[in-house]
């Protein structure tokens, strides 16, 4: 009996050793390491910017390289995935130990669950008093008054247009929603798609809807959306009116055939190839004006405007749909938390993310960029900057990101149905309410 017990113990302990071996291997793979007496530090960065040679990814990589050059003994390892894959793996990391510095989104649909799980380290807000953050931009990254992350961009929903195409055809930027519908009709008659829309992903149509709602509800946008989400009742007249306008736009042939199943790249290609006169997207695509892969006569003529005012709407020309979405945070369980926060603070020095972002034309930063005007900016960049500077109000978080993740999934799927007419507006609003409950 004793012999059997001894054998059993040997088998169990061997299995336990095997399991603990696996565990330690996994954890060493996921966390930073502090080695030896010379304090060699490895910081793991988990990023949602897989393209390290262009745009925002290039800016991030440049800062990482500079930090390593300035701090001997510090090694930064980057794992970058595109947004969809990033969010899935983020969740896996949240269960098994997060990398030290991670990309996050300061919106309830993403951050609520993450903060509830306690996986992000608290940051000292006072440290960032001199970092030039735009007023209110940190709010989305807070919970119970405590700061857990920093915003990277100020994103503005715009409608890009091809000015040369407009000039050649005698079209002008619409001053009102009715003008916009009439313009789209003229563009269609010329055999060109009026607006390229990424309807397959759901969220671009939601940010477009946000822009419409900002024009319909004006400064009441945030309170109307918050009330609808907390009560599960989306029958507010402003919301209904906005959805009706979205449907009217689709019914009027504003978007390309099959917009509800086409992805980001396809929609963008329609615009950058000259097959569409306009493209509804966020300001982060301002880098199109500096993208040499786009034909010169198109990239030099890209301009932008906001969704025009709606008859009877409370929002004016300068009430824009803008928000501070993406950003960075530090893992609460990071073994090199201090070094990771030091690196985070380095990234957000006004001369880093904000300056490099501006120089690379990747859109507006969440920090004041007025010191970095060099004269080399594209006309598009300046135009979007003016939109933000002239804004009388900004909407805040887009409607799809205002509620829980279930609401986000629901609205991004159902908005396709309401736009293509297969779901009635009543059913659409009822389903949104259901998703919030």
């Amino acid at each position: 009996m004793n012999r059997k017990l001894t054998r059993l113990f040997a088998v169990v302990s061997a299995a336990a050793m095997l399991a603990s071996g696996c565990g330690s291997a996994a954890s060493s793979d996921n966390t930073a390491q502090v080695k030896g007496a010379n304090k060699e530090v490895t910081i793991k960065v988990f990023s949602n910017l897989p393209d390290r040679k262009n745009g925002q990814g290039l800016v991030e990589q440049t800062i990482i390289d500079e930090y390593m050059a300035e701090n001997e003994g510090v090694k930064i390892e980057v794992e970058a995935l595109d947004e969809e894959a990033y969010k899935t793996k983020f969740k896996a990391y949240a269960m098994d130990g997060m990398p030290d510095v991670v990309s996050i989104w300061g919106q309830p649909s993403f951050l609520d669950e993450v903060l509830d799980a306690g996986v992000l380290a608290e940051l000292n807000e006072a440290d960032y008093a001199d970092y030039g953050f735009i007023s209110g931009s940190l709010e989305g990254f807070k919970k119970d008054g405590k700061l857990y992350g920093l915003p990277r961009n100020t994103d503005v929903q715009v409608i890009y247009y091809n000015q040369k195409l407009f000039d050649d055809n005698g079209w002008s930027v619409p001053a009102s929603y009715d003008d916009f519908i009439a313009l789209c009709s003229d563009i269609q008659a010329a055999g060109i798609t009026p607006v390229a829309m990424d309807g397959g992903d759901g969220w671009p149509m939601c940010t477009f809807l946000t822009d419409i709602l900002a024009k319909v509800a004006g400064t009441d946008y945030a309170s109307i959306v918050a009330k609808a989400i907390s009560s599960g009742d989306f029958t507010a007249p402003e919301i209904r009116k906005s959805v009706e306008i979205l449907k009217e736009c689709a019914d009027a042939g504003m978007f390309q055939t099959g917009f509800d199943s086409q992805d980001y790249g396809t929609a963008m290609n329609l615009f950058t190839n000259g097959q569409a006169a306009m493209f509804a997207m966020g300001s982060w695509e301002c880098s199109m004006a500096k993208n040499e892969d786009i034909a010169e006569d198109i990239r030099n003529n890209i301009r932008a405007f906001n969704f025009p005012v709606v008859d009877g709407g409370k929002g004016g020309d300068h009430d824009i749909a803008a928000w501070n979405g993406g950003g960075y945070a530090v893992s609460a369980s990071s073994p090199v938390k201090d070094e990771a926060i030091k690196f985070l603070n380095y990234m957000y020095q006004p001369t880093k993310l904000s300056k490099y972002g501006w120089e690379n034309g990747v859109g507006m930063s969440a920090q004041d960029q007025s010191d970095y005007l060099s004269g080399d900016e594209s006309a598009l960049q300046l135009q979007v900057m003016d939109m933000v500077n002239d804004a009388t109000s900004v909407s805040g978080t887009p409607i799809n990101d205002c509620g829980p993740a279930t609401f986000k999934t629901c609205i991004e799927s159902e908005i396709q149905g309401v736009a293509n007419g297969s779901t009635s507006i009543d059913d659409f609003l009822a389903r949104l309410g259901e998703a919030c409950k």
Partner: protein, 289 residues
């Protein structure tokens, strides 16, 4: 040698790795899934036990119902379209002989060796209303209107076509192998007796292929229920959930909606459905025997 195989320690040593893999890779995850299916776990933080609530919601969830229906529709498509054609093509290939046989066997199998991501993007381009191949062909034949093959009403059929086309080569190859294993003397005898091509196929090939058909059809039904990658990359379940499939819906709930518990409840129901379908299929084939 016989003594060695009757030694319990040897038996244990040989069987233990297999059992360990089964326990760790299959049974333990299923048990974990059953457990999480009774919780409101979001994938992060703590899980709270909520009893049967996930399952109650699942039975009221119209999106899940539609996704399950789409999966079953795909299974019917596999059985009613893909497999009869695959079997006929396999029989024709068998009679073709020479270099043509090998050539066409490879041609039909090509879609299976292409990655799912490539297949999905290839068909995305083929279906595109602005620059897609199908619309260009229609335009050549004088049809001026752009056709949206991935519209709310037609997307499911377009997706089914891709899935049936993609899996066709695999089914065909298994049938082809089955036909090749049929004793040629049976065909010679039927030929001497004056049987035509149709009669030979119906009375010799088909009955002798029953075990192959059983395996192939069961695998096809299970693969229809498990379908996710192509749909995820081709339509993402849209527009408006019209091409939502059960496995894709599970992923969406667990990883996009932060409803890991609910996703696991779908997974458990999914396992039950797969087991029931397998038992049902086996019963049908047994009765026919």
């Amino acid at each position: 040698m016989e003594k060695l195989y009757s030694n319990k320690k040897v038996i244990f040593t040989l069987v233990f790795p297999g059992i360990l893999i089964f326990l760790c890779a299959i049974l333990f995850p299923i048990c974990l899934s059953v457990y999480y299916g009774f919780t409101d776990y979001s994938g992060m933080g703590k899980a709270s036990f909520i009893g049967m609530k996930n399952y109650e919601e699942l039975f009221r969830d119209s999106a899940f119902g539609r996704s399950l229906l789409n999966s079953l529709l795909l299974a019917v498509g596999f059985i009613a379209l893909q497999h009869p054609i695959a079997m006929i093509v396999a029989a024709v290939l068998d009679k073709l002989g020479g270099r043509g046989e090998g050539f066409f066997r490879c041609v039909y199998f090509i879609p299976n060796v292409i990655s799912v991501a490539v297949i999905a993007y290839l068909w995305k381009f083929i279906y595109n209303p602005d620059f897609g191949l199908l619309n260009s062909l229609l335009h050549l034949f004088g049809h001026q209107e752009k056709v949206n093959f991935l519209s709310q009403d037609t997307a499911i059929w377009s997706v089914l076509l891709v899935l049936i086309w993609h899996g066709f080569g695999w089914g065909m190859l298994i049938y082809y192998t089955g036909i090749k294993n049929i004793d040629p003397t049976l065909y010679e005898a039927s030929s001497i007796d004056g049987a035509g091509v149709g009669q030979t196929f119906l009375y010799i090939t088909l009955p002798l292929m029953k075990p192959v058909i059983q395996i192939n059809v069961t695998m096809a039904v299970i693969s229809a229920l498990k379908q996710m990658e192509t749909v995820y990359l081709l339509t993402g379940g849209g527009p408006g959930g019209s091409t939502q499939f059960a496995a894709n819906y599970l992923y969406q709930q667990a990883f996009k909606s932060f409803r890991y518990g609910y996703g696991n409840a779908i997974g458990v129901l999914f396992i039950i459905i797969c087991v029931l379908v397998t038992v049902f299929m086996n019963k049908i084939f047994k009765e026919n025997d």
